[in-house]
């Protein structure tokens, strides 16, 4: 494994990681699975094991390194100063060069469904998609799992295999469960992974102990949140839906702009059928601004509480 030399340069850096685990709270992947191997610390330990020979390179290990939403929260939060994403980048290169079968959270195309319109190639903000020999190819080193390609694909030919709670079907399951279990449920707050979401993600209340009005769900990039999911939320009984995205100038995927445009169109449609458009709102909240997140959520809840329950869907 001469390619391991690519990782050797990080040995000293990996020693700097004191394995405090403070990165756990910043990682949606870990919060979703709660297996430590899915945390940034777990992945750094794996790389250390590769260097020391304690861990054998394998498809399993390779996929762990490619399971990442690239939000960079872990690196920003690391007080030991470990450049986590840079270390990951070299590790990913090593695994690809070594021929491991890797998917991770990179986008995959179903070639039977693909219409070859090439919209995803044009759309990808990271130049990760190309058209080679009649097929769409994803550059797994460039793909940042933002889901822009899923968003543009009218044939539903693109997917992210493991969504860690962020894929549309997973979101819809969580929404349904929330409105089924909580009589007081009023709203869903979608938050993009790059924006701010509350830390209260790894503990759950016993059913009789909580009857919350809102549930916050992480969407990776707000641009990936489709209208169907938002409408489904209203149909499940929500009084309203709030989408917290990062400021457009901060969004590396063009997703904030798309989320705003899409929700703007949805608001107009709702208005036409007599539903107050204020029931769907999009707000920019920069990463780390927990105060703004909580103020925005409170203001939104006050507004939809004034509007009252929607007279559609399963709940009043």
């Amino acid at each position: 494994m001469t390619q391991l030399a690519k990782l050797e340069k990080w040995k000293g850096t990996l020693n700097k990681c004191i394995r405090c685990g403070y990165c756990y709270e910043h990682c949606q992947i870990y919060k979703s699975s709660r297996w430590e191997i899915d945390s940034p610390r777990g992945k750094l330990i794996l790389l250390y094991g590769l260097l020391s020979g304690e861990v054998e390179p394998s498809d399993y290990v390779a996929n762990k390194l490619f399971e990442c939403f690239h939000c960079n929260r872990c690196q920003k939060a690391c007080s030991s100063g470990v450049p986590i994403q840079d270390v990951y980048a070299d590790a990913r290169e090593f695994f690809l060069e070594s021929g491991f079968d890797v998917v991770g959270t990179t986008s995959q195309t179903d070639h039977d469904l693909c219409a070859r319109c090439l919209n995803c190639v044009r759309m990808c903000p990271h130049e990760a998609r190309s058209f080679v020999d009649g097929k769409i190819v994803t550059d797994r080193l460039k793909c940042q799992s933002c889901g822009s390609c899923l968003d543009i694909c009218s044939e539903k030919a693109v997917a992210i295999g493991r969504g860690f709670g962020t894929n549309p079907d997973e979101l819809q399951r969580s929404i349904k469960l929330f409105f089924t279990q909580n009589s007081n449920a009023k709203a869903i707050v979608f938050s993009c992974s790059w924006s701010t979401f509350p830390g209260f993600q790894t503990a759950n209340f016993d059913e009789q102990e909580a009857d919350p009005e809102t549930l916050t769900l992480v969407t990776v990039c707000s641009g990936r949140l489709n209208s169907q999911t938002v409408l489904e939320t209203l149909l499940q009984g929500a009084w309203g839906v709030l989408i917290c995205c990062c400021p457009e100038s901060d969004c590396a995927h063009g997703g904030s702009g798309r989320a705003k445009a899409r929700m703007n169109a949805l608001q107009k449609t709702l208005e036409e059928i007599g539903i107050d458009p204020r029931r769907i709102q999009v707000s920019e909240v920069a990463q780390g601004n927990t105060k703004l997140f909580s103020e925005t959520t409170k203001k939104f809840m006050d507004e939809i509480s004034d509007l009252g329950a929607l007279s559609i869907g399963g709940k009043q």
């Binding site: 700097k16 004191i18 405090c20 685990g21 191997i37 330990i45 790894t202 503990a203 759950n204 016993d206």
Partner: protein, 479 residues
Amino acid sequence: MNSVNIAKLKEIVGAENVRDNKADLYVYGSDASVHEAMPQAIVRPQNTEQVQELMRYANSEKIPVIPRGSGSGMCGQVVPVMGGIILDMKGMNRILEINTPDGYCRVQPGVVDNDLNAALKPHGVFYPPTPASGVVATIGGEIANNASGTRAVKYGAARDAVLAMKVVLANGDCVSLGSNTRVASSGYPLERLMVGSEGTLGVIVEATLRFVPIPKLRCLGIAKFNTLAEAGDAISEIMGSGCQPSMLELIDKIAIVAANKAEKLGLPEVEAILLFEADGMAKETIDPEIEKFQAICEKHNGFGLEFSYDEKERARIFAGRAKLFPSLSKYDERLASTSLADDMAVPFSKMAETAKKIHEVAQRHGLVMTAYGHCGAGCMHTKILMDTDKDFQWEAARQAVAEIYDYVRSVGGTTSAEHGIGLSKAAAFKAEKATTLELMRGIKKVFDPNNILNPGKLMDGPDDWVEATRLRYQVSKAG
């Protein structure tokens, strides 16, 4: 030891809650300490019944079981020195009850400290131990290690907050310990015995914890000192004066420099600073505390005293202090921070001398060591910053750790204030508790006759921490 029957584990908790591939095992083989060792399986039970069945199986096969929270311990408490099954308790993460009239909450062991406090906040109360690792530490882990933190000086440690608990014993029986009351006079307080037992006596599956009101106001003060001795004298006078701080922290220059580099705190880079916080429901009760602090610090040549009720500024400093442990890796690019001689407690009057001793020992052995801590509770933290690749640095660390704990015992201190013993501090612990080791072993035998619960820790821990396990670092003999 018998081999682990993976199929049996899957039958008990479901295949989705068992991991046995080498990559997962390797990740679960270490914590925030310098140690690593391989378990045979990781199991994530979802309820008490599953824990009971797992214990019955492990006990019949004499397989070690190591309960684990988030693995943020610094001394190797959850490193499986004898292999076995890691019980990842994060699968039991429910807040079961918040009972405001009776002043307690009931939680499962996998609930993260900060999550619990976020849930308690709307009720105007908080769970007081406040370890710096609250973002990751689980309640089960905190109880097992009697964790505490910056607010221990006023509100106590985990042991003071635990009212009752449910524990699964080695034979699979589930017992209820303590009561949901503030006072209980009769019998042996077994719920308290469990606190600090580091998973050697049973598996905590539920805890009843008292909480306290969130004070309306908090005022943070800071004082600078040109010598550690003066700061130390100020500490003992503050604590002897009847002052009631809700936080009293000592931070030495090494830690200040690291925190400034990592978190851009902008703290003054003097020899030592004291952070003082007083809290309460009215300014009239807080101001006198602050005035006392100010007068005592000035008497001991403290300077640049500043005070602020500003919540934002206090939160910024508080968050920076909480990240001091990881920040230390940024002190010097060539050195890594290791959790060695990581905490201890000494009488207030010995704080300054302890800090001085730590620096003197470090210098003599060619190491860098910092001294900081929750000095209002008598707690001193340090870490060894060294080139972890070099074997001679580990030999120096071995000697330094031994000398520091010899000193701590000589002044009536104790081996661990709040981080626990695990593997790294077992030798010092055994020396300190020499007259009670057999009593502890006897208690262990009653609870766990087959010695399957986290074996090889505390009183049965290694005499030489360097050789106890593989070190998590690749150490070369090149020198």
